[in-house]
Amino acid sequence: MHTLTADVAIIGGGAAGCYAALNLQRRGLKPLIICKGLVGKSGASLFAGNLVISGRLLGNTEAQARNTAEFLIKYHNQFLIDQEWARRCGAWIEQVYYPELEELGLYFRRDDEGNVVTSPGAIRSVAANVQGNSGVPFMDLRRKQVIRAGIPRLEETVATALVRNDDGNIGGVFCLNIMTGEYVVVRARAIVLATGYSDRLHKRSTGTREMSADGLAMAWRAGATMVNMEMQWWHTNDIADPPTWQRMQVYPNPMLGSEKSARMVNSAGEEFFNQQNDDPLAFGPYTVQLKALVKQVHAGKARYDGGYYAGFDNCDASEVETYTTYGKTFRQLGLRFPEQLVETAVTSHYRQGGIDVDTATMCSSIPGLYAAGGVSGHSNGLIGLATYDGKVVSDGIAAAFDSLTDRPIPGSECEAERRRLEKLRSRSGGGVSPAKVKEKLRKLMWDKVGVEKNAAGMRSALDDIEEIRLDILPDMAISAQSPVANYEWLDAIDVMNMVEVCELIVHSSLERKESRGPFIRTDFPATDNRNWLVANVLKKSGNGLRFEQRPYQLPFFSPGFDVRDNLQVAW
């Protein structure tokens, strides 16, 4: 076990974490990035398909600028968002984000005449090199910036616990290098959780291999307040087979250089969703699509795990493939493109909620502990928003830096965590494997806390989770004890976090007694702005938890109704 020291330890190497690290370094502080995968290659940032144009950039009209803001607040966050934060974020994206990225060399796709190619319509977007793949060059650029700046990286290293210093404050991170099995303690004055919003907690999930809600679990154990944990977003048209491709999407958004977009067809061959025709304002139409699908499922013409189709048979191949990657998926499966559609299914995607933060600084309820990007609970995702969080958190830390203490971490604190991890690795024998526990947990979340849920199902889910916690986890065993690249051991560490966070999600879902956007309860089908246009705040109390409500201010946009059947609400 060895100890590293930094001014700020950042957990996560996606859009928020990288930007925070770069900005802190520019301000003269010493950041260090801990990344469970590889910086710029892990998490959801890589999946950015395109980049939304905010404000009056690239000839956006006043109406298009307003549409973009309205879309973000309404369709993207169902009004559960600090609208003042959204306004600041939009202004920053317009004035700083785009020029800064281009100055660094990001290639915003041009045509041969030199015009930046955009998607037309009520809300416009651009792509980095190619639509559908924008996150790859975007995050590759960040990775190289981090390397160029000489910011230390602990890659393929999992943060397993926040540790307390001798003042009793959170002052470090306990880590395990997955490749070598070595333990590392990072001591820092401030810690940023930037672990993303796409945790793999459901049977079908866009969350990647490493996303097991570690950030949320560590923050909760440390006593941080959570918010809106129930607000789960879904993709409605991800590839049904094979399982690996559950996060491969038939993008429903407007396409660059075309007036058309993908269409969705039920098992009877009837079209039931086409963004450009059905709801031009729903730029990322995920909630609108989901509601359209729920109606198909009710009519017996689709299932949540398949039996409906998506594709581009309304387009020419060249229209789709000039600026997008969308045709490649079809071709790789041996399908004729664009004539053939592909079977699709629902996949759990972003979680809107997360760690409760002060949106001016991104500080959590615990001094010195910050959260940026998707793991925080103030907004739903978009790579620009996550990047803005990286800026806000670095500014927040720099401003508060002199008041943050730097104290030694007692050996006993680290020793306890080391023993916990060693115990997970040394348990062999006939018990259930961590991979099977993950499968069981994901299945129960899918079956009982899926697209449509109700109190009875969720109480039963809590019973199942309790059974896993009490009967299965104590017997969980792994087959190899090597400390080197032992992914089974990592699975065992992951499972502990997943169980904890799934439980919080179910409790939060039971607490919100309404339906709102993608949060659909069959026992409370109405969107209830009178009682539930509030943050569903979750706090630790003793060994249990309690909820509080905090209303949202509505300075720019408001829903315009009190109570209405959620499936009849556009957003």
Partner: protein, 337 residues
């Protein structure tokens, strides 16, 4: 006739695919429901290696990664293999399947598969390789932009025509398939060749017109790029379908010849000789590239002579061929001295 169901890649890489039932549509329809596949996996830990065999039930449109996931969940829970995104973006799941490099999340399974780790990189355990040699080489080339003139504000003047080659390189996901397939990298320390993957990483910015030529020259000088033998192995295995030789390495070689001419001694000499004589003259090439140093390797020279590779008489006294005039017309003006 080219089958529209196969990859959009044209040309030589598809030759024989139809005849060998190896088109994408054939690869995706080899199995009947309920079939199972035989998967042999190379296991390695602490220098000990073995091959384990598994019967894996087929699932619709199964990828190689699905098969590995099935094995790790059901048969060998201690199997070490790396993957992050599962959708051709992170580039961390590349392995060799039946001897060729594939991205596990992207490639369709075969009825019988032998899965091995990538070559040319140290194995950490089982299928997990150490990415550091590739990462360090790429970082050493400083694959970023230094602007010779100040940025003019968004959006700056730039067209896709200018970005055509760089844009291809920007599809790179750093999966190292090409690095594993490259025979020159396979020679180890015998050359100073950076390898295809680091060159593609460099190409993203070195082929970008916004980059400073001085910066590009500095990076190119570290690449050993003229060790590339243009065998197209890299291009053949690239899951992102980047034309690595024709759109990245060749344009970079041209840039190197222009910006760092001393790197291109061999290529420039060859061109000069062809322009002057209308034919390749190996003897002249040896003399031109090695000069008097050639004499220090006399036994080798003798061997080349005995095998008919060089002909000193022809080199010293040989006349131009009829092709000299057209060759000069085509090449002469452009040969930098």
């Amino acid at each position: 006739m080219l089958d529209t169901q196969t990859s959009p890649r044209d040309g030589a890489s598809r030759l024989g695919q139809d005849e060998h039932d190896d088109t994408l549509s054939a690869r995706n329809s080899r199995f009947a429901p309920g079939a199972s596949l035989v998967v042999r996996v190379r296991r390695e830990e602490n220098g000990r290696t073995r091959y384990d065999t598994f019967n894996v039930p087929y699932r619709k449109w199964m990828r190689v990664l699905d098969a590995l996931n099935w094995i790790a969940e059901n048969a060998a829970t201690d199997l070490a293999y790396r993957w992050i995104c599962g959708s051709k973006m992170c580039g961390t799941c590349a392995v060799r399947m039946n001897g060729r490099e594939v991205l596990a999340c992207w490639e369709a399974v075969e009825p019988e598969m032998t899965i091995e780790p990538l070559r040319n990189l140290p194995v950490i355990r089982d299928l997990v390789v150490d990415r550091a040699p590739f990462e360090n080489k790429a970082a050493r080339l400083e694959p970023w932009i230094e602007r010779p003139v100040a940025y003019q504000g968004f959006p700056e003047p730039l067209s896709h025509k200018q970005m055509k080659d760089a844009s291809k390189a920007l599809d790179c996901i750093g999966c190292m398939c090409c690095y594993s397939a490259c025979p020159v990298i396979g020679l180890g320390d015998l050359t100073d060749f950076a390898g295809p993957a680091p060159l593609v990483q460099l190409g993203q910015t070195a082929l970008d017109p916004r980059n400073s030529p001085a910066k590009v020259a500095r990076s190119l000088a570290l690449t050993g790029i003229f060790n590339c033998v243009s065998c197209y192995k890299c291009e053949e295995v690239c899951p992102a379908a980047i034309p690595i030789v024709s759109r990245v390495i060749e344009p970079l070689k041209a840039k190197a010849a222009q910006l760092v001419p001393e790197m291109a001694g061999h290529a420039r000499a060859l061109r000069r000789i062809v322009a002057a004589r209308g034919r390749v003259d190996p003897g002249a090439l040896v003399l031109s590239v090695q000069g008097l140093r050639a004499l220090a390797r006399l036994p080798r020279i003798v061997r080349l002579f005995l095998r008919g590779k060089i002909n000193p008489v022809r080199t010293l006294f040989g006349t131009k061929t009829v092709a000299a005039e057209p060759a000069r017309r085509l090449l002469g003006r452009e040969v930098p001295r």
